[in-house]
């Protein structure tokens, strides 16, 4: 290649010179670009290239700063600078000239200028401020191209705090006569929406107009916005589902002009976008889903032409069908489509087929069974990407029966994989599967050994933490625990004995800890020997200081014999002069503990790693030391916020908002009423930070995988019956001899020419897919995992840490009610009855022995309520005094209906779920599960409240405490209720409920002085103008009162035209609001220690004012 370029380039200058009579100056620059490129291609080393480009940049620098350089030459120079930047060499001295070019140049130079600016400057670069005026001018230009350029640059690099400056002009462009301008304006607004949703809140109706635009291109662009908004809150846009269906119908049936076709498929990208929107709208919503069945069917039918792009549409279509409320005919068709993908010889389609299978397999494991042979083939595919996708699929279908085979396959892949990123992800999955489904202890230890040795140094730390926790806490069975620990000790001792392979650091740390803690379990093991092996580790040069610390800590536990003590002392001595403080401290401790045996027994008792330690958090044992120091004249300790306050007072910086007077020049450039320029400059540094957070948050919501699904009673049951008639191939190909004889005909029918290799694959398939077919009925009801015999991972670790010891089961109704209002008890899934002591009796009567049988093992008492009570009155009396929302019916399937009510407690949002049994028969195995990504449901382990039995016509109440730790403008709560009606099969209902940030806001009662102190200590702020409620005597007071009503804020004080308001986000994150009324607007300035809280709250303030 390079010689081709070289030849061409040698020819180039002569050609150029032939052509160059009129513009020699410019062409010499062009040929400079030519010679630059030629020079670079000739070079062989990176170093030479660097030298050459440095020289080039120096030349450019000289050129740009010369006053004689014309704008036209500048344009060529910019292209060269772009080239250098692309190669990774910074040309920052050009940035200002790029802006100048965009400002001053004629249209063409301007175009290069804008391009250079958008390539050079990142969002929020300081120099962008210089561009605002140019962009404003160009947005108002009559030249379409200039407007287009301005819109493009705005959508590419404008930061959040500059949006208000251009927003009105961009808004105007929505009504521009040219379609292309409208389209670009819509996309620019979409970008604004992504960055700062509350700033474009007022133009939602304009979005709707864009959706109804007569030009399909503008409509297509507006779908970006709708997709995003619907993703955030689907329930607000349900009524649009009909319109989207109509649009899709028209597109599918070819109503669009031929211009929009691509390979004779009408507007494929538009179709995909619409399908994605429909999936979001129809998810967990039967009524909305019903509207779209017809058009989905049509799409599946139409997309038959064999072209890439139709497959793209099909893929989206299948995903939508599986996401919305299920309809069996559609599901059958979609399943066939997936088959087409999976069986396709085209590798791209196969990849997508596997992805689709992964997506649907939890709902429909039969599909995986149908394609088991293809999946087996994909396991040996030469393309690692396909292999990895297959493993991902297998990961989803793992159960207790096939776990060994699947984990073996994964470890195989890991052994051959070089890519660190893949390894980290997969290692986590193997560890998870091993913990969940391990068939026995020795397998578990072996597998975890493999995980740790393959995982390398970059393994996620929680894998090792979980493993150690599991080992330390053990199970209910002491003998099992002992065996597991012993196995681990044995295998580690032999690993250390071998010492051939250098193990990763985290593994060495685990080994040291386990040996230190549990090697005493091995009878006849001399601690001196263990200590010697650990000591050998220290000799090696490739272990890190951190690992050395672990080894020393382990030694401290081992020096129980004289020999061990001696060795430990040597080590301690060796490291007691070490430069690393952590290591030195360990060495000192080791030395002391070695000398003092009673102390060692007290500090490091056997098998007590899980016992609670009492920590004196007030550090009272230091009191003597402190008073002594104070007596000697030391300065008293000041907490950080006090220090900061004093510092700021000292510097006398003005943190108060400025008045409304704007510099005339700035207000002239359409900075309008939305945000004052002072706020712009003040908040620019911080808001960059919060944008990032917002983007992170939004990227979280993009995940489509692992979507939970509702499966109605009629859901997929017909399909299930069909498969029962034709038994799944697993049974026939199972490798047991009796089966092979009995089902010989079957096997022969399936593969007449099955060679030995084929046989092997079948055997593998049989082991891989075991346990999938047999429990179809269970799986279809949404419980894909057959409960393993023993649950390995008993509790989520982080929460375990929270409760410390085991929580006492709530024993009586009174206790429960007390606990509910006791701040200290975070017990959130509570069940209680209203009728006091009489109810347990009735429960026993109704449930009879079944109730008695299931009420064992420390379950919380489940009590049913007498029928006929209005749900509202079912809340305990103490809760009735608190403000609460109206009762909201969530879902009902004829047997069980679920209603919810929000109770606004002082320190949490209490979500009360009323489960009422509509039948006369009792419901068994009732359980209720509440989860949320945005909010934290405080509860022990899962949020399941096991109510064993709900009597006929009875009502049970389940309470969950919710707090929001990271602010987001709304929180979606998934509620899953499962039960078994009488003798029937278990059934599940799932519904999601969306809570607004306002539900988590509580007043923060502070005094004006406290407010002042807090204000200075918070760093994240946002400022914006809001509308003032005009129709009253005192608009400020009226507006604040409205906010107080809607959002439960605390008005601290109102002084003249200014008001200060305080609130907190449960669990106790304050947010302060400083309001200043002038003219018809209210300038609100919010501050909080959380970066996104002001933004989210402002959004809700705005909404509250709009509504009142």
């Amino acid at each position: 290649m390079s010689d081709v370029v070289e030849k061409t380039l040698t020819a180039l200058p002569s050609l150029l010179s032939l052509d160059s009579q009129p513009g020699a100056g410019k062409l010499s620059v062009t040929s400079k670009l030519g010679s630059l490129i030629r020079g670079i291609t000739e070079l062989t080393s990176k170093h030479e290239e660097e030298k050459l480009i440095k020289k080039e940049l120096a030349a450019i620098k000289e050129h740009v700063s010369s006053p004689n350089t014309t704008l036209r030459q500048m344009k060529e120079i910019m292209v060269r600078a772009i080239y250098c930047e692309m190669l990774g060499f910074e040309a920052s001295f050009c940035y200002i000239h790029a802006i100048k070019l965009a400002q001053q140049g004629s249209m063409f130079e301007k175009r290069v200028g804008y391009l250079a600016v958008s390539l050079f400057l990142r969002e929020g670069h300081d120099l962008l401020l210089l561009l605002v005026n140019t962009v404003l001018k160009d947005l108002q230009s009559t030249n379409l191209i200039e407007v287009c350029m301005a819109l493009t640059v705005v959508s590419q690099i404008f930061p959040k705090d500059m949006i208000p400056a251009v927003l009105p002009l961009v808004e105007d462009k929505l009504t521009h006569s040219k379609e292309i301008i409208r389209r670009k304006a819509v996309l620019a607004l979409y970008k604004f929406y992504l960055m700062a949703p509350n700033q474009v809140q007022h133009i939602h109706d304009k979005f709707r107009r864009a959706l109804c635009d007569k030009d399909p291109g503008v409509m297509t662009a507006s779908l970006h916005i709708y997709l995003q908004m619907i993703k955030e809150s689907p329930e607000n846009y349900k009524e649009l589902a009909g319109s989207f269906v109509v649009i899709l119908k028209q597109v599918v049936s070819g109503k669009l002009p031929a211009d929009f076709s691509y390979h004779s498929v009408p507007a494929p990208w538009l179709q995909m976008q619409l399908l994605r929107i429909l999936a979001l709208l129809g998810k967990e919503d039967q009524r909305t889903s019903e509207i779209m069945y017809e058009v989905l069917d049509e799409s599946l039918r139409r997309a038959e032409i064999n072209h890439n792009i139709t497959y793209a549409i099909l893929y989206e279509c299948v995903k939508t069908v599986y996401t919305i409320h299920p309809k069996s005919e559609l599901l059958e068709k979609a399943a066939k489509c997936i088959g087409k993908f999976v069986l396709s010889p085209k590798i791209n389609l196969k990849y997508l087929g596997l992805k689709a299978l992964t997506y649907v397999v939890q709902q429909d494991p039969n599909l995986a069974l149908q394609h088991q042979m293809t999946i087996i083939e994909c396991l040996d595919h030469p393309d690692p990407i396909i292999k990895r996708e297959t493993l991902e699929l297998l990961y989803r279908i793992t159960n207790a029966q096939n776990v060994t085979v699947i984990v073996e396959k994964m470890l195989d892949f890991l052994r051959h994989s070089r890519d660190e990123y893949t390894v980290i992800g997969l290692v986590g999955k193997v560890a998870e599967l091993a913990e969940k489904y391990a068939p026995d202890n020795s397998w578990f230890v072996q597998t975890m050994n493999a995980v740790f040795s393959l995982g390398g140094d970059a393994m996620q730390p929680d894998i090792t933490n979980n493993f150690l926790r599991l080992l330390a806490e053990g199970f209910d069975n002491a003998e099992e625990d002992r065996q597991l620990r012993l196995l681990a000790v044995d295998s580690y001792l032999s690993l250390l004995g071998g010492e051939a392979a250098s193990l990763p650091q985290p593994f060495l740390q685990i080994i040291s800890w386990v040996l230190g803690e549990y090697s005493y379990l091995k009878v006849g093991q001399d601690p001196t020997d263990v200590l010697a092996r650990l000591g050998a580790l220290l000799e090696r040069h490739d272990i890190t200081t951190e690992t050395r610390c672990w080894v020393l800590a382990a030694m401290g536990k081992l020096c129980t014999t004289d020999g061990a003590l001696r060795r430990a002392r040597e080590v301690a001595h060796q490291y007691s002069a070490c430069l690393d403080t952590a290591l030195r401290q360990q060495a000192m401790e080791l030395e002391l503990l070695g000398q003092d045996a009673p102390l060692r027994h007290r500090v490091l008792p056997h098998d007590a790693s899980c016992e609670d330690l009492e920590v004196d958090s007030s550090l009272s044992f230091l009191d003597g030391f402190v008073s002594e120091a104070l007596a000697l004249g030391a300065a008293p300790y000041k907490p950080p916020h006090q220090r900061q306050e004093e510092l700021s007072q000292h510097k006398a910086l003005n943190f108060e908002p400025y008045g409304p007077s704007l510099p005339a020049s700035l207000s002239a450039c359409s900075l309008t009423d939305r945000q004052s320029p002072t706020a712009m400059s003040l908040s620019s540094g911080i808001s960059g930070n919060s944008t990032e957070q917002m983007q992170k948050a939004s990227s979280n919501t993009l995940k489509l995988d692992g979507v939970k699904k509702v499966w109605g009673k009629e859901g997929y049951l017909p399909q299930k019956e069909a498969t029962e008639e034709a038994p799944p191939p697993v049974a026939s190909s199972a490798p047991t001899p009796s089966c092979q004889q009995g089902g010989a005909e079957h096997t022969q029918l399936a593969v007449s020419s099955a060679g030995e290799e084929e046989q092997e694959k079948r055997q593998l398939a049989a082991t891989l897919f075991v346990g999938l077919g047999s429990q179809n009925s269970l799986c279809l009801m949404g419980k894909p995992d057959a409960a393993p015999k023993r649950i390995w991972r008993r509790q989520r670790p982080d929460q375990e840490a929270l409760d410390g010891g085991s929580r006492p089961p709530v024993s009586s109704v009174d206790d429960t009610l007390d606990g509910l209002f006791d701040d200290a008890v975070p017990d959130s899934a509570l069940l209680y009855s209203l009728d006091g002591p009489s109810v347990p009796q009735s429960c026993l009567d109704g449930g009879g022995e079944a109730a008695g049988g299931s009420l064992d093992a420390g379950m919380e008492p489940a009590l049913a309520l007498s029928p006929g009570d209005a749900p509202g009155s079912l809340l305990p009396p103490a809760l009735l005094a608190l403000p609460r929302s109206d009762m909201e019916a969530l879902c009902s399937d004829g047997t069980l209906s679920v209603c919810a009510c929000k109770v606004y407690q002082r320190d949490a949002l209490l979500l009360a779920l009323f489960l009422s049994n509509a039948c006369d028969l009792p419901l068994e195995e009732l359980s209720c599960d509440v989860t949320s990504e945005e909010a934290k449901v405080t509860d022990g382990y899962t949020t399941a409240a096991s109510i064993s039995l709900l009597a006929g016509r009875g009502v049970a109440v389940v309470l969950h405490h919710l707090v929001m730790e990271l602010p987001s403008s709304q929180a979606v709560v998934a509620v899953r209720v499962s039960y078994r009606p009488g003798a029937g099969a278990p059934t599940q209902q799932a519904v999601s409920l969306s809570l607004s940030l306002a539900d988590f806001i509580r007043p923060l009662p502070v005094s004006t002085e406290e407010y002042g102190r807090l204000w200075l200590s918070f760093s994240n702020d946002v400022k914006q103008n809001l509308r003032l409620l005009a129709d009253s005597e005192d608009p400020l007071a009226a507006t604040l009162a409205a906010l107080k009503d809607k959002l439960r804020l605390h008005i601290v004080d109102i002084i003249g035209a200014e008001g200060i308001v305080a609130c907190q986000l449960v669990p106790g994150q304050p947010c302060l609001l400083h309001c200043h009324a002038h003219g018809g607007t209210l300038t609100a300035w919010l501050r909080s220690p959380l970066p996104t809280l002001p933004d989210c709250l402002l959004y809700h303030c705005q909404k509250a004012i709009e509504e009142s």
Binding site: L227, D259, D383, I385
Partner: protein, 192 residues
């Protein structure tokens, strides 16, 4: 959303890079290098999708690429984009380049990196797909270049020069980007 568009040749030399999400300068170079490393070791008979790797957003991001003669076109997108849709978008982009440059080759991308950027701006704006109809894209670009011609004949000179080079017809040069795809035949596009 599209996070980045990278074009580099078989040796990993970048020919066009456009990031729609901010990455520091050295990070950008690292991404280009790593992407090249990932993509170049893949045969032509494996799938066109890759996961982003640790540098560029983890498993949420996908790399979707096509290989034409001497050039790799790589789009880095998040999970909200359709893989096959992007694959065809790359095809549209390349076909558009082919039309605008009349048999596009790597040289065109080197000497007219600015023009390629302008074409790209009409296809993707701020990370969102703006236009997928080739004729529409070409029309927009042509409106702009007409202005260019009316503004001064000089700036057209380098284009002429390069096309003159192209017309020298050196037989051993694999000049044209081969747009032949499993399904797409360029000639069949004319009915638009």
């Amino acid at each position: 959303m599209i996070k980045a568009i990278l074009i580099f040749n078989n040796h990993g030399k970048p020919r066009l890079t456009r990031f729609y999400q901010y990455f520091a300068e050295d990070m950008q170079q690292q991404i280009i290098r790593e992407t090249f490393h990932l993509v170049s070791k893949r045969d032509d008979n494996v799938c066109n999708f890759l996961e982003g790797g640790s540098l560029i957003g983890g498993s949420d991001y996908k790399l979707i690429y096509r290989h034409y003669a001497t050039l790799y076109f790589v789009f880095c997108v998040d999970s909200s984009e359709s893989e096959l849709g992007i694959l065809d978008l790359i095809q549209v982009f390349v076909e558009t380049l082919d039309k605008c440059f009349e048999n596009v080759c790597e040289l065109d991308l080197i000497f007219h990196v600015d023009k390629v950027h302008y074409i790209l701006q009409e296809v993707v704006m701020g990370g969102m797909v703006l236009e997928t109809n080739m004729n529409e894209i070409v029309a927009q670009v042509e409106v702009q270049s007409r202005m260019e011609k009316s503004e001064g004949g000089l700036s057209a000179a380098p284009a002429r020069a390069v096309s003159a080079v192209k017309n020298m017809n050196l037989p051993e040069i694999p000049r044209n980007i081969n747009i032949g795809d499993i399904n797409i035949k360029v000639p069949s596009l004319s009915p638009f």
